[in-house]
């Protein structure tokens, strides 16, 4: 009881005396806020990118690639193989009585990014009539779908945000061909929003791909039909292809690409955290030093070393918590929901929205509190060891 009440008193005194060391305390708060904002910035980039990739896949859609290919760009499938996939087990039949299979090609074309006004790669996807059917989240929001056999394209809303010159009705040139934008489609929170779509046979012809595709997307009757379909794609002698659920395909891509951002964000955050820790230690040592007479007085009166330790510790934790709150606020106001784009697994730009979530806020705040904890322990230890001598209290 007495230990608790004396500790509470010392903590209250320490916290209330923070304004007396306003500038040093403020410097610590700001440096911790910067650490949190930078780390949270990187983590929310990775988070947004991951969410977009993970949100792109459906569990009941199988994506089929050539055996050994990890990405769409280095895969190839023949028209016969795509047709044969439609005869596999568990394939859903569409309203027209035909299996819902979409043979697709993915080409890389150039565009100008609005943010940097530099050239960057964009994915041009050749899709067939089933292109929209295999992507339940995609729908035309402006204009119309391209007409089969024409040089018309529809553009993803994310790509439209990030790249210049793709507004509805505009003409764009890729290589020797001119294309007209006839529609805008939305597929919120997916990589598809960062793509241009055109008729697959036209893309095959203009990019001299004959009748071959790169991937096929096959809608299954349910996710439980996947194992039988995977076995079929692998074991049928005319196929020998690798099939997996679209969900797993994008989850694996998210894992690889998200790690890159995270591996950059954490080391930078930790280096900055070491700097902030030096600042926090300095502030807290200064705090203990400026309160030396107060601490000695309390010790003479009979207060314990533990209460002096806790007072310093809690002061450091309060400063770091304020810093963390400020950092999260800066990040939430400055970055959250911002549109960004980066290089995806297909060497093309993937547009996504920066997303701050509870998990990454927790990670950044934990780092801030660790700074506070370490920044408070050593000065707190010094405070606790202060001798209760009258001369020190003078």
């Amino acid at each position: 009881m007495s230990l608790m009440s004396q500790t509470r008193s010392v903590i209250a005194m320490n916290v209330r005396s923070i304004p007396q060391r306003l500038w040093m305390s403020l410097a610590t708060v700001v440096s911790i806020a910067l650490v949190v904002a930078v780390l949270l910035g990187f983590l929310s980039l990775a988070n947004g990118f991951n969410q977009t990739l993970k949100g792109s896949g459906a569990p009941d859609v199988a994506i089929v690639l050539r055996e050994g290919s990890e990405a769409e760009l280095n895969s190839t499938l023949s028209r016969e193989q795509v047709d044969l996939l439609g005869r596999g087990p568990g394939v859903k039949i569409g309203a027209d009585g035909r299996p819902i299979v979409s043979g697709e090609l993915l080409m890389v074309v150039d565009g100008i990014k609005k943010s940097s006004r530099t050239k960057a790669n964009m994915p041009l996807r050749g899709v067939g009539a089933n292109g929209l059917l295999v992507r339940k989240q995609a729908k035309i929001s402006q204009g119309r779908m391209f007409s089969p056999g024409s040089n018309e394209i529809v553009v993803g809303a994310g790509l439209l945000r990030e790249f210049e010159g793709f507004e509805l009705g505009k003409s764009v040139r890729f290589g020797a061909q001119t294309w007209r934008v006839v529609g805008v489609f939305e597929a919120p929170g997916t990589v598809f929003e960062s793509e241009l779509w055109a008729d697959a046979p036209v893309v095959q012809s203009l990019f001299k791909r004959g009748t071959s595709f790169q991937t096929a997307r096959v809608v299954l009757t349910s996710p439980t039909a996947l194992p039988a379909f995977v076995a079929y794609a692998k074991s049928e002698p005319r196929l020998q292809l690798s099939a997996q659920s679209e969900l797993d395909y994008y989850a694996a891509q998210a894992e690889r690409s998200g790690l890159l951002i995270r591996y950059f964000g954490w080391p930078l955050g930790i280096i900055m955290a070491i700097g902030a820790l030096a600042g926090a230690l300095n502030t807290m040592y200064a705090s203990v030093s400026s309160r030396a007479a107060e601490i000695a007085t309390l010790r003479v009166i009979g207060f314990s070393g533990f209460s002096a330790f806790m007072g310093t510790m809690v002061e450091a934790l309060v400063l770091s918590a304020i810093g963390a709150l400020l950092g999260v606020t800066i990040c939430a106001i400055g970055f959250n929901g911002l549109s960004a784009s980066t290089l995806g697994a297909g060497f093309t730009q993937v547009a996504f929205r920066v997303q701050i979530g509870p998990e990454i806020i927790g990670q950044a705040v934990t780092l801030a509190l660790i700074i506070g904890l370490v920044g408070g322990i050593f000065p707190g230890w010094r405070a606790a060891r202060q001798k209760p001598l009258l001369a020190l209290a003078a």
């Binding site: 007495s2 009440s5 008193s9 005396s17 009979g302 209760p388 009258l390 209290a393 003078a394």
Partner: protein, 227 residues
């Protein structure tokens, strides 16, 4: 009268580099209950060291320190802190109030070491402030008070837990003559009316006159005793 505090053959040494300095080498003294003693002496004579030993804020190297019949020289740090909290009130030269706390909150500090409920603590604080005639300044922060008023708050803090012994380290060293005399009269009143035993270290002969007797400390021993 019986002894409140008794020092028997106390030794105390400090080390300065490789050199050992003996502050006390067999000091024996006794302070009676209800006494008001001034301790004077030149700088370096051991006055503050003596006050630290009497107040249990420092340890002797040898001998015995007995308070109210109980040896305290063997106490652990925790036992000494608890003993100080209930038995000794300290009054410092520069008041040593907590600047962020009000007068009442400063006075309440020693009571935070007890198990008294909040209401009883508030009552005791009000009584202590009344004794030093500062009831109307209870909610003022130290910087809003004069030096004399701050020292009165410090006195209220020293007596709030009703300790038997008050140790004063140059309590008027930072005050003008008139204010100093007011403070000394308050101490005298505490001694005469409440029976507090007071030991006061001072350089000021005028201040020493308010005590019942004066001990002159020189080079670790009492060279002269005057009534």
């Amino acid at each position: 009268m019986s002894a409140l505090i008794q020092l028997n053959n106390v030794t105390k040494n400090y080390r300065r580099g490789k050199e050992g300095i003996a502050i006390f080498d067999g000091l024996t003294m006794s302070i009676e209950k209800g006494d008001f003693v001034a301790i004077m002496g030149p700088s370096g004579s051991g006055k503050t060291t003596l006050l630290n030993l009497l107040g249990g804020t420092d340890r002797c190297d040898g001998g015995q320190i007995i308070f109210d019949g109980e040896r305290i020289d063997g106490y652990s740090e925790g036992q000494l802190a608890a003993w100080r909290a209930r038995s000794v009130g300290f009054i410092f030269q520069f008041y040593n109030l907590m600047p962020v706390l009000t007068a009442a909150q400063n006075v309440e500090l020693p009571l935070m070491l007890t198990k008294l409920p909040a209401k009883k603590r508030r009552d005791n604080v009000a009584t202590a402030l009344k004794i030093v005639e500062l009831s109307d300044r209870a909610k003022h922060k130290p910087k809003e008070l004069s030096g004399g008023q701050q020292q009165r708050v410090a006195i209220a803090r020293a007596i709030v837990s009703d300790p038997k012994l008050l140790l004063c380290d140059e309590p008027t060293g930072d005050l003008d003559r008139n204010t100093a005399n007011d403070i000394l009269r308050t101490l005298q009143q505490l001694n005469r009316e409440l029976g507090k035993t007071i030991i006061m270290v001072t350089h000021d002969p005028e201040a020493a006159r308010f005590a019942n007797r004066t001990l002159h400390l020189d080079k670790g021993s009492f060279a002269e005793v005057t009534a």
